[in-house]
Amino acid sequence: MLKSSQFNTFRTALSIAIALILSFLVIFLVSDQPVEAIMRMITGPLSSKRLFANVIELMIPLIFTGVSVSIMFSANQINLGAEGSFHLGGLVAAVVGLMVPMSQGVHPIAAILLGGLTGAVFAAIPAILKIFTTASELVSSLMLNYIALFLGNYILSYYLRDTTAGALTSHLLPESVKLQSIVSGTNIHIGLFIALLTAVFGYLFLFKSKLGYMLRISGENEKFAKYSGMNIVTVILISQLLGGFIAGVGGSVQLLGMYRRFSWAALLGYGWDAIIVTTLSKKNPLFVPLAAFFLAYIRIGADIMSRSTDVSPEIVAITQGIIIILIVAEQFLSGYKHKLVAREARLQMETEGAE
């Protein structure tokens, strides 16, 4: 039988399993070829190098926003600034790529760093609003995301637009700024390493550094942090600056690694997806790549399924929804947990009695 210390892992795994089973049930209800659809979804991403590469490519931006949101949520800064920071990161990388010629080596570095800085400044706005006006960071960050989006559209339309192209899109990015592919025949680019390093950095920051310690204490109990002499204003600012920086870097990396032109006329949603990733990884950046991989895998799987069967890829939204509800619902399996704990307590009582 299970130990109560392993309970959380078990609960997460079971949540995922239940969500998948329920999604499959839905597939059975709506599809004429349910078995094939499910098989395509599960094994599709493994069926070719290109398809598996798609999973890795999708995982990269999710790692960035996942780490970003893990840090901000750890400080109890529940907000969606990562979405806007990501978008602006991509925009600034495009601007630097198109308008500031540089040599091959420094061009992407400059573009990514500037993208990150922009993301940091952007995510700091809700923090500053909160500090000075106690405005809820959740609301202000959501609204600010629209400002980020339409600022991007404006710059794209008036400064970056390639008028010879049919759609609203920028000029071609120069080769000097693009991130190189590291696996031939795929789009997996060097950004994968940056993403993984970011996850490690996020872990070291949150769990090993002084600032991270402050952040987590404030996030768990702000009154306790204040009483202990910690500066809450610093905590709020740092978590937002750092979270925004990482999301901004993510946006830049995504643009430079995956796109030939900047054409983001809508928010891409990686900031929202990061909430799923963060929930699955329990705010630990070290687990973020795993969670991002899982999410990317079922998304690509669903895509493949929809291409060859009659099931639409939105089925994944059901899966995601159920997983989140089950993980967040405190009462789910709490009776079982109580039994585990009670059994261990009884065993301990008996062994103590025997001594």
């Binding site: 550094s209 002084k210 310690y213 987590r216 768990e220 109990n221 306790f224 709490s334």
Partner: protein, 515 residues
């Protein structure tokens, strides 16, 4: 008289954090008796009563009421069965009148409306029947604690309670109010009610209870006739050893003035003035006790001293320097340490482990961290040392603090606050709600620190505690000091009680400041 009204048999309750609160407990009540349930905090008394009142579900066990086995799944069922509970923290609606509170949930109706005249009449009738003499039209928020408690008792009686559970009813009362409560309880007993009286004040139990059941560590230590045991025997059964109630205090050795307060005025967030022109000094090497009924401005005073309230009038100096404009961190670096009264809100982060909780005030000291990173090894070693030095019962420093018992959580707070080289300690209700052993330990530590030259400001509603530890003792009443005593050993509880109730007031307050 001798027939058994209620039996609880082999009750086992294990909480979700693994604490075995009730380990095979049996309890039997005779009709018309006052039965004491006593034990240290954390012994499982409250849990057992919550099971009886339907708030908690036991793992196993049986409840037999009037010879019939019953299942009590929620408080409504308990009330229907004639069981009433008066909680330690009153469950009253402050803006309602006494009558409205008494009939709440069982309102007499006229059409779809509550029949207020009838409500008042019913309330008055039951109040007179039990000789409580209440003005039922009065709003509860204006009532003193002793009266609120009477309302709680009436509320239970109105719902037909035959068995009345009183959870530490005297904890919030002055000695005078306690006397009055006892008169009322004896009257209830004469009318045939059965009362379960939870307490750990032995002299009160000797005074009023017929029989007593002692619990320790979730186990039943036996039921006795009150007259069969001496207080010493009871306390040994409760704690498992003899309890030190008298401490050997070293001679007073006063040094520098550490804290100096002049004309302090503080308002709470609702804008009510809670501290009204206090003056006092505290020197290194003494314990300055502040007694008083809770809610007379002690919390606000403590929060000003700890830097949590910055919006005050008057002067607060720490080692001669004004505290205005100093951050909590600045105050702490001057040696201020604070044991907050609400340890779950201010004292810990319950979802984090012991290690994280033990260093929140000192993690950035050189021994625990470099410029960027924490030093894992020294922190772990220090955590181990603190756990053993402060006798914290926990699996390891990785245990989540929320999993510990109240006494152990308080020891975590104390370990953290006392290990940061304190020079001024503000201890607000440092031993409230924790077991006798832990309380004794914390008191000893406070004395040790005093002898080492700490200035200790001890705010407590526990009269024994302030009288035993304080070198000087002031009584706070409605935001002011109503009295100050330089010779604490000559004081009696009754005398203190009069100052606590504001019956007596000392205008001169000689000795509150140092010349």
């Amino acid at each position: 008289m001798a027939d058994t009204i209620l039996e609880m048999k082999n009750i086992v309750k294990i909480y979700s954090n693994g604490v075995v609160a009730n380990d095979n407990i049996s309890l039997s009540l005779k009709k018309g008796e006052i039965h004491a349930l006593l034990g240290e905090n954390g012994a499982g008394k409250s849990t057992l009563m919550k099971i009886l009142f339907g708030i908690e579900t036991p793992e196993s066990g049986e409840i037999i009421l009037n010879g019939k086995s019953v299942a009590i799944r929620n408080p409504l069922e308990a009330i229907k069965l004639g069981i009433g509970m008066v909680h330690q923290h009153f469950m009253l609606v402050p803006s309602f009148t006494i009558a409205e509170n008494i009939i709440l949930g069982v309102e007499p109706r006229k059409g779809i409306f509550t029949d207020m005249d009838k409500a008042e009449e019913l309330s008055r009738r039951i109040s007179d029947e039990y000789n409580f003499k209440l003005d039922v039209g009065e709003k509860v928020e204006n009532l003193p604690v002793g009266i609120k408690q009477k309302v709680e008792i009436l509320k239970a009686l109105f719902r037909g309670a035959e068995i009345l559970i009183l959870d530490e009813p005297t904890a919030v009362l002055t000695p005078q109010e306690t006397e009055e409560l006892f008169i009322q309880l004896r009257r209830l007993k004469e009318k045939g009610h059965t009362i379960i009286f939870i307490s750990h004040k032995l002299d009160e139990i000797k005074q009023i209870c017929d029989r007593l059941t002692i619990m320790r560590n979730g186990k039943n230590m036996g039921t006795y006739e009150t007259t069969d045991l001496t207080t010493k025997e009871i306390s040994r059964l409760m704690v498992g050893r003899d309890v030190v109630t008298k401490f050997d205090k070293a001679a007073l050795n006063l040094r520098e003035t550490a804290v100096s307060i002049r004309k302090l005025e503080v308002w709470n967030t609702a804008g009510t003035k809670k501290v009204n022109g206090l003056d006092f000094d505290v020197k290194e090497g003494e314990i300055f006790g502040i007694a008083g009924v809770e809610g007379n401005g002690q919390s606000e005073l403590a929060q000003v001293l700890a830097g949590l309230i910055e919006n005050y009038k008057g002067e607060y100096r720490i080692f001669g320097e004004t505290a205005k404009g100093l951050s909590i961190k600045d105050l702490r670096s001057k040696g201020m340490s604070y044991i907050p009264e609400d340890r779950m809100t201010y004292g810990i982060a319950e979802n984090m482990d012991l290690l994280s909780n033990l260093f929140a005030n000192q993690y950035d000291k050189e021994k625990y961290s470099g410029r960027i990173f924490l030093k894992k090894k020294p922190m772990e070693q220090a955590a181990k040392d603190l756990i053993s030095q402060f006798l914290i019962k926990a699996g390891s420093f990785k245990t989540k603090v929320g999993m510990l018992s109240g006494g152990n959580i308080q020891k975590v707070v104390v370990a953290r606050e006392f290990s940061d080289d304190p020079k001024v300690i503000i201890a607000n209700q440092p031993t409230r709600g924790i077991d006798v052993g832990a309380a004794e330990f914390i008191r000893k530590k406070l004395l040790e620190l005093r002898d080492k030259g700490c200035a200790v400001i001890l705010i407590s509603a526990d009269l024994n505690e302030v009288m035993e530890l304080s070198d000087r003792l002031a009584v706070m009443y409605k935001g002011e000091f109503s009295g100050v005593f330089k010779d604490v050993s000559a004081l009696t509880e009754e005398e203190l009680g009069r100052y606590m109730l504001g019956i007596e007031k000392d205008e001169g307050l000689e000795g509150i400041v140092y010349a």
